[in-house]
């Protein structure tokens, strides 16, 4: 079988690299906007395989990284209230807030629980009817349908003590903002798992309006190299377009059921992104019918004034303007075991990925 044999062929990577070298004449700057891609690209040392004409830069694709310190500060403030249980994905717990982190609060007695799924958080709420259980919802279109399904379930089952504190975001406004800021991008390696939900229609305006192609990529080295090749070919042929490399998981129409649940529960709102500021329609909030599940609506809390880490250049890194080794704190005052900035915390963060895989190179 053709597709299978190609994927099994270990020489495929070499083959793809050679193809890219043959085809690439015009210098290109390709940006990935998915933390999973950032991790794979660094882990497999993709940049070192590519010719000088192809530069890869990371964009705002790590949810933990683009989320503001204010979000963390508020989560910390919630965790200090009486009768509150915070439920969260593990990634968030070590992100530094202005003066503390969820991990530190947990160590000093706050009830903070790492869950694998929003459904586990619902379970915690059902088992603790005398407590208010807040789920910290972060992530892009891959993750937000899960939160929507959780809220739907909570509503159907009338669970009164479950709340969502949402920092869910959608990807296209950030991609557009980068182009409007004039950041040089010849093509996007478009996010693989976000696109399983959204499909590809939302990328059409990038080639049409801005002449920037988008290739939806998988996560293996062969996937990524093939996507790079496709983008290079688009540039060489002056035919930017929307293509799917990750065909085994992504259909043009996405996942209609997930999109329907998402739309039923959430509506767009303006949201703040590290590095990009407030972007119109880039966040998700609960629709009016579900606002009694909104932690911000239902649970009042006083939050300390947000102070950002001095010297952290996460914002510029998330825009592809700087690389981690241009940060004075990188690998010195900022490491994965003692992160100063958000980009060093999650293993999808550019600084974290560089620290783990790129530091000696």
């Amino acid at each position: 079988m053709k597709y299978m044999d190609e994927y099994r062929d270990r020489g495929l990577v070499d083959h793809l690299v050679q193809r890219i070298r043959d085809v690439s004449k015009v210098p290109v700057r390709l940006m990935e906007v998915c933390g999973g891609h950032t991790m794979s690209i660094q882990k497999f040392g993709i940049p070192s395989l590519l010719p000088e004409t192809v530069e890869l830069v990371s964009g705002p694709g790590c949810p933990v990284c683009v989320t503001g310190r204010q979000f963390i500060d508020k989560a910390i403030a919630y965790s200090r209230l009486k009768d509150i249980i915070i439920t969260t994905f593990g990634d968030l717990i070590r992100v530094p807030g202005s003066t503390s982190s969820l991990e530190k609060e947990k160590a000093s007695g706050a009830d903070i629980r790492i869950v694998y799924s929003v459904l586990d958080a619902l379970q915690v709420a059902m088992e603790n009817p005398d407590k208010k259980v807040i789920f910290l919802g972060i992530g892009f279109e891959t993750t937000s349908p899960g939160s929507a399904a959780g809220i739907k379930r909570a509503s159907e089952m009338h669970i009164p003590n479950f709340f969502l504190y949402s920092s869910h975001k959608v990807m296209p406004p950030a991609m557009k903002a980068l182009i409007h800021e004039g950041i040089a991008i010849s093509g996007f390696i478009a996010p693989g798992h976000v696109s399983t939900i959204t499909g590809t229609a939302m990328y059409e305006e990038f080639p049409q309006r801005y002449g920037v192609g988008c290739v939806v990529s998988g996560f293996e080295p062969a996937d990524l190299l093939q996507s790079v090749l496709m983008l290079v070919q688009q540039v060489e042929n002056r035919k930017p377009g929307v293509e799917i490399q990750y065909k085994r998981a992504v259909r043009p129409e996405g996942n209609p059921k997930a999109l329907q649940v998402l739309d039923e529960i959430f509506e767009p709102q303006d949201d703040w992104w590290r590095g990009l500021g407030v972007l119109p329609g880039s966040g998700l909030r609960l629709r009016p019918a579900f606002q009694h599940f909104d932690a911000e609506n239902e649970i009042a809390v006083r939050v300390e004034e947000t102070r950002d880490e001095k010297g952290c250049i996460c914002g510029d890194i998330l825009k592809g303007l700087k690389q981690p080794d241009e940060c004075k704190l990188f690998a010195k005052a900022c490491t994965p075991s003692d992160p100063a900035g958000a980009c060093m915390v999650s293993n999808e963060g550019t600084c974290h990925a560089w620290y783990r895989y790129h530091r000696h190179g």
Binding site: F89, H193, I197, E220, A222, R248, K257, G361
Partner: protein, 87 residues
């Protein structure tokens, strides 16, 4: 967080499925996906099946996945014994 893993559907009970990832079983909600059947491959993300995989291509990618894991394991091993970055 954006990572999603391919998993095979072993059994379905209402809107929950039991799925297998390389022999380990997990629970997966089917709340946000349609037409999933036993034997299908799905992408599992934070406890939800988010998309069906094309079976032919899923098997191929699983195989590649295993190979890369194996390759990585060996590279990591070599890296930690030699203290050098290889790839």
């Amino acid at each position: 967080m954006c990572l999603s893993i391919p998993a095979k559907v072993i059994s379905i009970d209402g809107d929950m499925a039991t799925v297998s990832v390389g022999g380990t079983e997990y629970r997966a909600s089917l709340q946000i996906i349609e037409n999933v059947e036993v034997g299908d491959y799905i992408l599992l993300h934070t406890g939800f099946a988010i998309q069906k995989l094309d079976i032919k291509e899923a098997e191929a990618s699983l195989k590649v996945f295993e190979e890369f894991i194996e390759l990585n394991r060996r590279l990591d091993e070599e890296e930690s014994t030699t203290g050098k970055r290889i790839l």
